[in-house]
Symmetry: C2
Amino acid sequence: MPIFRFAIAQVNPIVGDFVGNLELIKTACNQASSSGADLVVFGEMVISGYPIEDLAKNESFLQDSAESLANLAAWLEANHPNLDVLVGLPLADKNEQSWSVATNSAVLIRAGRVAGKYDKHHLPNYSVFDEYRIFNSGSDYFSFEVKGHRIGVVICEDIWQEGGPVGHTKAEGIELLCVLNGSPFEISKADTRVQLVSNIAKKYNCAVAYSNLVGGQDDLVFDGDSFVVSANGSLVARGKQFESDLLLFDFDSANHISAITSQSVEPADELWQIWHALRLGLADYVAKNSFKSVILGLSGGIDSALCAALAVDALGKERVFGVAMPSEYSSQHSLDDAADLARRLDIDYRIEPIADLVEPFDKQLGLSGLAAENIQARVRGSLLMALSNSEGHLVLTTGNKTEISVGYSTIYGDSVGGFAPIKDVPKTLVWELAKWRNRIARELSEIEPIPENSISKPPSAELRPGQVDQDTLPDYELLDALLELYVGQRKSVSEIVALGFERELVSKISRLVDSAEWKRRQSAIGTKITAIAFGRDRRLPITNRYR
Amino acid sequence: MPIFRFAIAQVNPIVGDFVGNLELIKTACNQASSSGADLVVFGEMVISGYPIEDLAKNESFLQDSAESLANLAAWLEANHPNLDVLVGLPLADKNEQSWSVATNSAVLIRAGRVAGKYDKHHLPNYSVFDEYRIFNSGSDYFSFEVKGHRIGVVICEDIWQEGGPVGHTKAEGIELLCVLNGSPFEISKADTRVQLVSNIAKKYNCAVAYSNLVGGQDDLVFDGDSFVVSANGSLVARGKQFESDLLLFDFDSANHISAITSQSVEPADELWQIWHALRLGLADYVAKNSFKSVILGLSGGIDSALCAALAVDALGKERVFGVAMPSEYSSQHSLDDAADLARRLDIDYRIEPIADLVEPFDKQLGLSGLAAENIQARVRGSLLMALSNSEGHLVLTTGNKTEISVGYSTIYGDSVGGFAPIKDVPKTLVWELAKWRNRIARELSEIEPIPENSISKPPSAELRPGQVDQDTLPDYELLDALLELYVGQRKSVSEIVALGFERELVSKISRLVDSAEWKRRQSAIGTKITAIAFGRDRRLPITNRYR
């Protein structure tokens, strides 16, 4: 049979931006067509963006999705009548038996017409996914021919379920299975995907084209990293991670596929992946919400230093504004480290002491103890928001996953901000990333962005004289290990104690985590990089005596 | 056949409080038994509290639930060996094909043993419900006999689905169908429930005992209002609304049931219901989270006045603390109205002027315009939080649904607080409730709690000279009508325009609503009383160009 050429178009849509998304799709079609492709495969829901949450219940949203599809079909007929295009989108699907009014679908456009469609069978409703809430599931199969080769279509979760539509592949004689994905980044997930797909390819003796979205969408980051596996399970090529890409392949048979664009098959270093996930999450949140710049408090500590370095990588140094807000309890080294950081990053930097702002509160209300500590953090929060209001910056809040887990922060204080770049990064990983970023700089003979002192000194909130985090919290190595068990693996206190940890400590940490739920609900959105982040995965009642 | 006596036990559990919930259950069993009952029917998940959200994924939580059941069975054997008890609880249910590890179940305890169980068939996954996320659905039926009468068991959503297990009632010869519910209050829902159950009774020729939970749980209020309908569809009796209750009935046949405890069959006035839902939601949030008292800012306006009056009804005047925080833009009438309110309610009242706290910010940062307006609100937020830290009160935030919908508030300012009593109350309903509460006071010859002036004056944020809400927003009658269409009925801009509204205005409001999503995610939890409240029902991506 003749060889055919296909493309995987890895693009970065915005939820609800039907016009902009159509432009991305057309540009990729132009590029694929001029490279001689017969077929181009996009990601899940590329027409509407993904995930659309309860927008799937708006009939007008579904109408706009259908119109966008019709526009694309007409444009393809006029411009690329011989290019087959597979796109994902939500389609209206009224059904008396269901609360949902839509399907999560893939459509084949051929010669200006919708030549077939597939509705996702398996609707994930765990972790960040709520698809059973908003979609009706499909039960039909769909395949088509290109130059005599039979091509199958499924969507994302369908390949993660045993006995799903993938099991039907053999019966239909599928040679190439196209999988449209909206698969968010998670530490170590890239390898899991390739392994899973490779097993499917071998089991059903068909090649698999895994096409993923790319880009940040609120707290999710789609990492791209699309790839093709041949029927013997070997990886033919993979696309860029954290960037848009167009991959081209010549398909001879399920075991003979050649990559036209040559890409590495090696996965990137894990810290590299995490850094780029955080960077893309921040960059896209800023861009897609039309902010011009960000502002953040620089305490001289490691969290704000890492966030500032990330922001410069994501946005460029001209769009990052740093503010030191020293109090009477701030040490000179803190101010020195903050200034050093700003110099290294070459960003706008100012010093706004808070003494004259805090003192009137203390005096008028007679504050002491915790109230006197918190008012400092709240004055800083108000100060940053005032600068945001005056100058138009998005405020970044610099809390890490460890302190958010246990509520070690001041609500309306240091938790103030529109985006939390390292919300899902445990403290121990914060240090690792800082060292990694400095090492990369050294390797490139660039200035190390993060002051060594910010990495090596003991962390402190500096809200009272001589305070350090470990006055209140256990050592961060131990704390992060406990949080991984209690939050990440949902183990109970007793189960963790059975692993050899001290009961009193485990109980204390579990109480802190559970009672910080309200604070977490009030905190900014931020990039998710682990299996269980707060907010979307671990949703607990606030009123809850299960401590 | 002999007559048997059954009780509906309408109790108020707390999620995760297995020990406390068991005490509630035992107390109700003692009472039912001493009243000669043969059977007592509790609400959905009474053993664990409801809804349990992702706690259903914790194996230790499920173990505790099973242990609690075993404890109850042993206690019943020792104390009431002849009392049959139907309780709801989550049970472990591992299943390779599923992400969930539990069922939402009802269990019959008879003579100290688990004599049978029923797993909920229909798992609601819309609006506030996410049960498909956390439970496996059942497919078996369960019925049992008491003194020769056949009793069926289903759970909540099961009766709302055509063709569900209710359709099986006739085949099993069920005379009395017991429905265990965790059904939250919603305006006008009480009548809907009775109508639905009445239709089921007639259709399947069986009596129905509808047993509901009561109490506030985060933003949900279970209103109780349990009832019994005979097979001819007539309401035999209903329980108290918004209070714990024990209802007793003698069952002769499906058409001959007599209420031992005599209760009204008339539903209460709608404003009465709303007031008591808000009152119970606030009272239980405070009690179940172990707060002693609440504090709130009193602006002289209607929102804070209504919240203060609600708080006094919910908690008693000794536990409510009011603070006036006048600025240079506050009118004398605002301060007078706030003082008048505090006098009428006889609550602790203090005045904390903010001029000396705001001025240093204005001076140091050179603030003007929006930044100067917002800093006043933020200083007030910090002030209330400082008093909360010093004195231990829960801060109430007094925003109404209308202003939260369109983002007409200052994030980290007037939105500061742990609980938002009127978060789901549109502004026009705020006025109605205020007038209603004053009328009730007049009828009881009590002091009207809310100053007439707070009700009649034009609303203003008083953040700049002469400001009124209608500088920025359309008239509240019009705005609430638009919000009901756009949010409450999910209509599109075009659909609303087709109803006769001005396109420019509708577009503006839709943009405001959609772009306020981030603010809403950061706002306090509050009592839900309408079909679509923000947060749990209307979940939209923040990054979203669908405007």
